[in-house]
């Protein structure tokens, strides 16, 4: 009872004190990753410049955050003033009118400095609806010592044939060295991010121009067969439960010859505090098949303002601060250039100090530039997104398809059966959602 009384009294006192405060409080929803946590630590710099704005951080794990932010914005709950959302959500939410266009970011913001590939994914009808905080693509990370020992040289832009040959040569299962570590855990942001991007380089696509699913086409069969066979010959055991973190642990403990994953991993695998192979890592672009598309993805975490927010001005000021050039300089002055959030601004990659501090800078930039979310595939498609399809139905659909592909990897189903099941699911879901008439 006392607790209840406390709650009642507390609530009553909040009502009395509330209006007396003149400052604007911004509630910011964000994901738990290193760059975001660093930003929280630098709050004082923003509040010193804007004493009338107070920041309140709500940090959550990615999936928990996505569920919560989506509920809030879809019901216009108004719990958050600034949202951290991915490149998947931005075009969908902008089209629904759920986001405020960011056209007042300030005179010195320099929108044209944003990397074109990233900016294009955040622009709908010519307007920017979210500002990128950090961006990433995917690339090949490989062990230079193992390659030297095997007498192979990794080119800057390898083909899938080269990668597969090298992986098989590097594999020595008796010493627990596996030629290649790839994602296998089911999920639209797990194995399907990797496989969709890979499929792009094999000439496959999710849907044709009329939204007909394409899993019954030879390109998908080639992609999945290639992946399953390669992992069987040169992958670690139990790969169907490996996601980013599991592969990171394998690579850092010296068990992978190559790992194709997010460019953000570069700073983890080269950090001697976390990695046993920190000084033996080289980087290359994600592989291709000579069809004009590489198997790399494009992702960014972005800051946006929900439509209907009462605090658009303060929120815009915050977003402008957090995604500006001066923020990058601020992080560099406090924690060094290697810790600056990557992948958003051209000027960062022309900065000699950054190039010196981050040996993977050039490869990251080339990877990001070679992905085009508006033209992701060899054949034309009706959707936006490289490793995803920016429609609301994609999360559920791709997770179901991902489970089938993960089962094919573990051997509990065949490649053909997995593709047939994926096709059937996709046709059913797309018909139900009204894309297929």
């Amino acid at each position: 009872m006392k607790a209840l009384l406390g709650v009642l009294l507390g609530a009553a006192s909040m009502l009395v004190v509330g209006p007396a405060l003149a400052e604007t409080k911004l509630t910011i929803a964000t994901v738990n990753n290193g760059d975001m946590i660093r930003m929280q630590g630098l709050t004082a710099d923003f509040t010193a410049k804007n004493p009338d704005i107070k920041l309140e951080w709500v940090t959550l794990e990615e999936n928990a955050l996505r569920q919560k932010v989506t509920t809030d914005i879809a019901t216009k709950g108004g719990q958050f003033d600034v949202l951290t959302i991915g490149t998947y959500e931005v075009p969908i939410w902008a089209k629904k009118g759920w986001l405020v266009a960011l056209d007042k970011l300030g005179a010195d913001y320099d929108v044209d400095d944003l990397l074109p590939a990233i900016r294009s994914g955040l622009t709908t009808d010519g307007k920017l609806f979210a500002a990128p905080f950090y961006g990433e693509s995917s690339m090949v990370m490989y062990r230079t010592d193992l390659f030297d020992k095997a007498g192979i040289k990794m080119p800057d832009a390898p083909t899938w044939t080269f990668v597969a040959d090298a992986a098989r040569k590097l594999t020595d299962k008796s010493k627990e060295i596996y030629g290649i570590c790839l994602r296998g855990k089911a999920g639209w942001g797990e194995n399907m991010a990797f496989l969709t991007a890979t499929a792009n380089s094999f000439g496959a696509r999710w849907f044709d121009e009329k939204w007909a699913p394409q899993f019954d086409q030879p390109e998908w069969k080639k992609t999945l067969e290639f992946y399953v066979n390669l992992m069987k010959d040169a992958g670690p055991p139990g790969a169907s439960s490996n996601g980013f973190n599991e592969n990171l642990a394998l690579f850092n403990s010296g068990k992978c010859g190559m790992w194709i994953d997010a460019t953000v991993a570069a700073s983890f695998v080269t950090n001697p505090k976390e990695s046993k192979v920190a000084d033996k890592v080289g980087f290359a672009l994600a592989p291709d098949n000579g069809l004009g598309k590489r198997g790399n993805w494009l992702w960014a975490w972005n800051l946006a303002i929900p439509a209907g927010s009462q605090k658009v001005d303060a929120a815009t000021k915050f977003i402008s601060w957090a995604t500006s050039k001066s923020y990058l300089a601020l992080v560099a002055s406090k924690e060094g250039w290697a810790n600056v959030p990557p992948g958003t601004r051209t000027s960062l990659y022309t900065n000699p100090e950054y190039q010196k501090a981050a040996p993977f800078a050039k490869m990251t930039l080339d990877s990001i530039n070679s992905a085009d979310p508006k033209k992701p595939t060899v054949k034309p498609v009706p959707y936006v997104g490289v490793q995803f399809v920016a429609i609301p139905e994609f999360q559920g659909l791709a997770t179901t398809v991902g489970q089938q592909f993960s089962a094919a990897l573990s051997g509990s189903t065949s490649v053909d059966a997995a593709l047939a099941s994926a096709q059937a699911t996709a046709v059913r879901e797309m018909t139900r959602a009204g894309y297929i008439k």
């Binding site: 607790a3 209840l4 709500v58 019901t75």
Partner: protein
């Protein structure tokens, strides 16, 4: 000979009991040990158990990054508040069902339980809209009410089974002596069913403490309990096991201690009436 047999028998039982409890306790122990590792050791393969550089760094990081005491006090308020409110409603309800059943009592009991079978996400949007319009989003009051309602069927069911074990005659005797219904419940029924009420209370506190769906979805900062505190330390990209373990250890510590202290009461309550 018989004594020998008893001795081996007892030793065998002890070994089995120890093995079972260690197996059950091992994940918690592993979590506590991991919270003292560096992120690299936490991810090491093969895993290291005791021989690594013990560090308090994770606790330091967790302390500087988030406000543990605010989250913990919210957890205490939510779990105790919702439990007390639930008992206040459930004791009279269970009394009525146990001692003054009507034709529909059995159906009502089953219907109440059936509400627990609905996945909470099915009513997320309606509840969210309701809370938005009544200003209850991110409020402790709103969550106390919701957690209370969510656990109420279980509380009523548990109390109902305990009350059923109490002979009706004793209550009738009290009534013969002129006790009102309230007095009958407070002075006769409650003391007799105390172990049952206590274990219901404890179980409900634990359920409310661990509730992670509504507490995650309906709070942002003011009313956020320890479940939200833990959710801030997991990540699909990056090393986080050691920090997550530290946050989880801090989050379960209070309820673990309460559980240990009240173990006897809990077991007595759960087996109450098992042997007639």
């Amino acid at each position: 000979m018989a004594r020998e047999h008893t001795k081996t028998y007892r030793a065998g039982i002890s070994v089995i009991a120890w093995a079972a409890s260690l197996t059950l306790f091992f994940p918690i122990l592993w979590m506590v040990v991991t919270s003292f590792k560096s992120e690299l050791d936490a991810f090491a393969s093969p895993p290291v158990f005791l021989f690594f550089d013990w560090t308090l760094e994770n606790y330091h990081i967790v302390q500087t990054r988030s406000d543990y005491f605010r989250h913990a006090s919210n957890s205490v308020i939510l779990s105790c508040g919702s439990t007390l409110l639930a008992l206040l409603i459930a004791i009279p309800a269970a009394w009525a069902m146990a001692f003054a059943p009507s034709k529909r009592t059995k159906d009502t009991l089953l219907w109440m339980l059936s509400t627990k079978m609905m996945p909470p996400v099915g009513v997320l949007v309606p509840i969210y809209l309701l809370y938005r319009d009544t200003g209850l989003l991110d409020s402790r009051m709103g969550l106390v009410a919701l957690l209370c309602l969510g656990n109420l069927p279980i509380v009523i069911w548990m109390l109902f089974t305990y009350f059923k074990e109490i002979p009706k005659d004793i209550l009738e005797a009290a009534r013969m002596d002129g006790a009102t219904t309230l007095k009958e419940i407070v002075y006769v029924l409650a003391p007799m069913a105390l172990p049952g009420i206590a274990s219901t209370l404890l179980l409900n506190v634990i359920l409310a403490w661990n509730e992670a769906f509504w507490t995650l979805n309906l709070t942002t900062s003011k009313a956020a309990p320890l479940t939200v505190f833990i959710a801030a330390y997991s990540s699909p990209e990056g090393l986080f096991w050691a920090k997550l373990s530290a946050a989880s250890t801090l989050a379960i510590a209070p309820i673990l201690v309460i559980g240990w202290l009240s173990q006897r009461q809990l077991v007595r309550g759960l087996t109450f009436g098992a042997v007639k």
